[in-house]
Amino acid sequence: MKTSLSIYNQQALREYLALGKHEFDQVILHVKGLSRVGSISLEEVASQKNLPASTSLVWDILMPESEFQEKKQLFDMARTRFLHKLNWRVVDMGTIHYLINCSPPVNLEFDATTGFHNKIALTTLQEFVGSPLKKMILSLELPEAELRDIHADLKTPTEILVLGPIPLFYTPRHLLRRFDTDRALGKSEETPHNGFVIEDNIQGTFMWLPKELFLLDHLDEIADTGVEWVRFDCPLIWALEGAKVVRRFNEGQAAWKTEATLLKKKYERPTIKGFFKANRTNALFPKLKNQILRNKNCQWVADVIDLEKDRFMVVQLKREMKLGDTLAMHTPEGRVSPVQVRFLKNSLGHDISEAWPGDVAIIPHVRGACVGSLLGREV
């Protein structure tokens, strides 16, 4: 299993290079102007002579047309002057399209942190980009089983975050500027989470979950899914300890898990495992509306739209109804009662023998009926 490290500012880059040896298989530099939260200048990158062989530059901002034209110029300048050998880590489909049409070709890594949750999407992109695609960064929302399924058809190496903040929100609007600040901690009475990290910079406003992702104690399961790379978005001091755990794991030392657990305990912030073991974020959907009357194998004949208890019900017809029909009434709570159409009247109070779709009719009241009930013929 290979490791990558995200570096966001020049100070952190210098600290990393000062180590004198490369503790990670790849470093990912978040550059100023092209990345969401990075501040490393392209000149600083170009001036470093001892960057690791595998270095990737991040161009992960999303760009409306006018901004994109500006950023293309920035990229072109960087590429022609000094950075043509490096990989570029991108999100915007426009960036991908632009890079694969560059000459000479640009190696790229596709960051799908908040999307591309299925193998058809990933393999389609893999096929489209072809050989310049060097890596795919998979979504934080993919559980173990889905990761395994995805890798069955994927040729491109993949990476997931194993230690670091979880990004939640990205807008190009500046939401903190009116408070004369560029960082804040947020909480809301409407969520139990406390301490959302919010940052407003030149690219817009970003928010992260108060708890960070920690998956180092699941390295064996991650490796088993087919993921080859694990990434550290945390400060260097913690990433170094994490990389040590990965080395132990790669060497087959049983102690890796214990060390991972110890690291989790002493880590500077609270952590979660996110959706790695399960993603049930669609499980609540059936509760968002009444499911009882939806999609029943029943030919609905009418809606009950008003009633006078023990006297009559007012119904609006979806299908033809005849005097003497026997129907089943389904209430929103799920109760089912028989309905005998013993009388059938129109809105003038006249007796009629049949009514048609769209008509309003008056029929006998049924005990337990309520507005919103449906009358149907069982199929």
Binding site: G94, I120, P167, L168, R183, K187, T191, F285, K289
Partner: protein, 400 residues
């Protein structure tokens, strides 16, 4: 009325079969709707398979197009039921599919239904447009951060149809890139379960000596592009979308009627514009802004207020039936009493204002106050037909 032949399509939300009928009757050129799965509004009624068939048939009878949303971010298992759903859509003649996920796009392509790229894919620039064109997309529903001028440029450069949101609620985040709801409420916003975390009130610790403030800093004002319609015409924007599948029939009727009149009229005198604006004000909404349609939305687009449901013009119901010279049957959705004023939204032309003298139950008993969700009789009035939408005009003393 000056009819503009090459005007943009007016695309309206149809959160249910009832609202689809409303949209069509009040002037939408096209509607967008969802089945019980695959869309981004799981809490909306949406359409059963039978309703879908009925809805598509009704649209086509009225020369209105129907686009089906399949714009959730699919996970692997979500594809299992897609084939049978697509076959049904082919059979029933869906006019387009609204898709955001590349995997879904690849999957649906062989079925031959035109594909519109959802705003959820955040297509923002011409290079991205070229990518999606190569993937088989016919129309781009541009990201909400795109200006009208940029949409025009992209259309000219890439040769795809472009669609823009013109009215309604706005995501603050880049669409498809917000997962607050997923991680904090356990509801996947990109699969239709958004908990609207951006509308919450937050307490911010501003980190400069304990300064703390309570704010709705992530909530966006609503979009209102009415005044920009002449520019939409000039830039030949293909389709203008009204947001709001969760909104009620009154909202759909008001939006469709006003925007249809405005689009048909073209550049209009100030008095007419004022009239349209005043009618849009009669629906409940957050403070309006023009989003990024003219220039990039900035701090002025933040709606830093608690949401309010108070509306001086609430939905009063739907006309069920009109028996000439006898009565009007109203399915009342709010309490009504003699003395109340209602406005009936005609499908075209001036609305009809009525002050209620008397109300009767369906079995002809005078009533002093009807309860919400009841059927009442009103005196006959010419010009009123079934399915018209009715709003109540609250007395000034009851208005907030």
């Amino acid at each position: 009325m000056n009819r503009h032949i090459n005007r943009p399509e007016l695309l309206a939300p149809a959160g249910s079969l009832e609202k689809l009928h409303v949209a069509v009757q009040y002037g939408a050129d096209a509607v967008y709707l969802s089945g019980q799965a695959f869309g981004l509004r799981q809490a909306s009624d949406n359409f059963t398979l039978e309703e879908l068939k009925q809805g598509l048939s009704f649209c086509h009878q009225n020369n209105v197009k129907a686009y089906i949303t399949l714009n959730s971010h699919f996970h692997g298992d979500d594809f299992q039921q897609l084939d049978s759903f697509l076959k049904l859509l082919v059979k029933d003649g869906a006019d387009a599919l609204i898709v955001s996920d590349l995997g879904v796009l690849k999957f649906v392509h062989p079925y031959g239904i035109p594909i519109h790229l959802s705003t959820q894919a955040s297509c923002l620039n011409s290079e991205a447009a070229r990518f999606w064109k190569k993937m088989g997309v016919k129309r781009l529903i541009m990201g909400r951060e795109v200006t009208l001028l940029e949409a025009k440029t992209i259309k000219e450069q890439v040769g795809l149809e472009v669609e823009l949101f013109i009215h309604g609620s706005m995501c603050m985040s880049y669409s498809g890139n917000c997962v607050i709801s997923n991680f904090t409420s356990g509801r996947d916003s990109n699969r239709g379960g958004c908990a609207h975390s951006c509308r919450f009130e937050y307490s911010l610790d501003l980190r400069d000596g304990g300064r703390e403030t309570k704010t709705f800093f992530m909530s966006s004002k609503d979009l209102n592009g009415l005044e920009l319609l002449p520019l939409c015409l000039e830039y030949e924007i293909d389709s203008l979308k009204i947001e709001g599948r969760m909104r009620g029939p009154l909202y759909v009727a008001t939006m469709c009627k006003v925007y249809r009149e405005a689009l048909d009229y073209g550049p209009a005198p100030p008095m007419l514009c004022q009239n349209w604006k005043a009618r849009l004000e009669k629906t409940s909404h957050r403070e309006y802004a023009q989003g990024s349609l003219l220039c990039r939305a900035g701090e002025e687009s933040i709606y830093d207020q608690r949401e309010s449901e108070e509306n001086p013009y609430p939905f009063a119901g739907t006309i069920l039936e009109v028996v000439p010279d006898q009565h009007i049957l109203l399915h009342a959705k709010t309490a009504l009493s003699p003395g109340d004023t209602i406005e009936i939204l005609t499908f075209q032309g001036n609305d009809i204002s009525i002050t209620l003298d008397q109300l009767f139950s369906i079995d002809n008993h005078p009533i002093t106050r009807c309860r919400p969700s009841s059927v009442i009789k009103l005196p006959y009035r010419s010009g009123v037909t079934a399915k018209m939408i009715v709003r109540k005009v609250l007395p000034v003393s009851e208005q907030a």
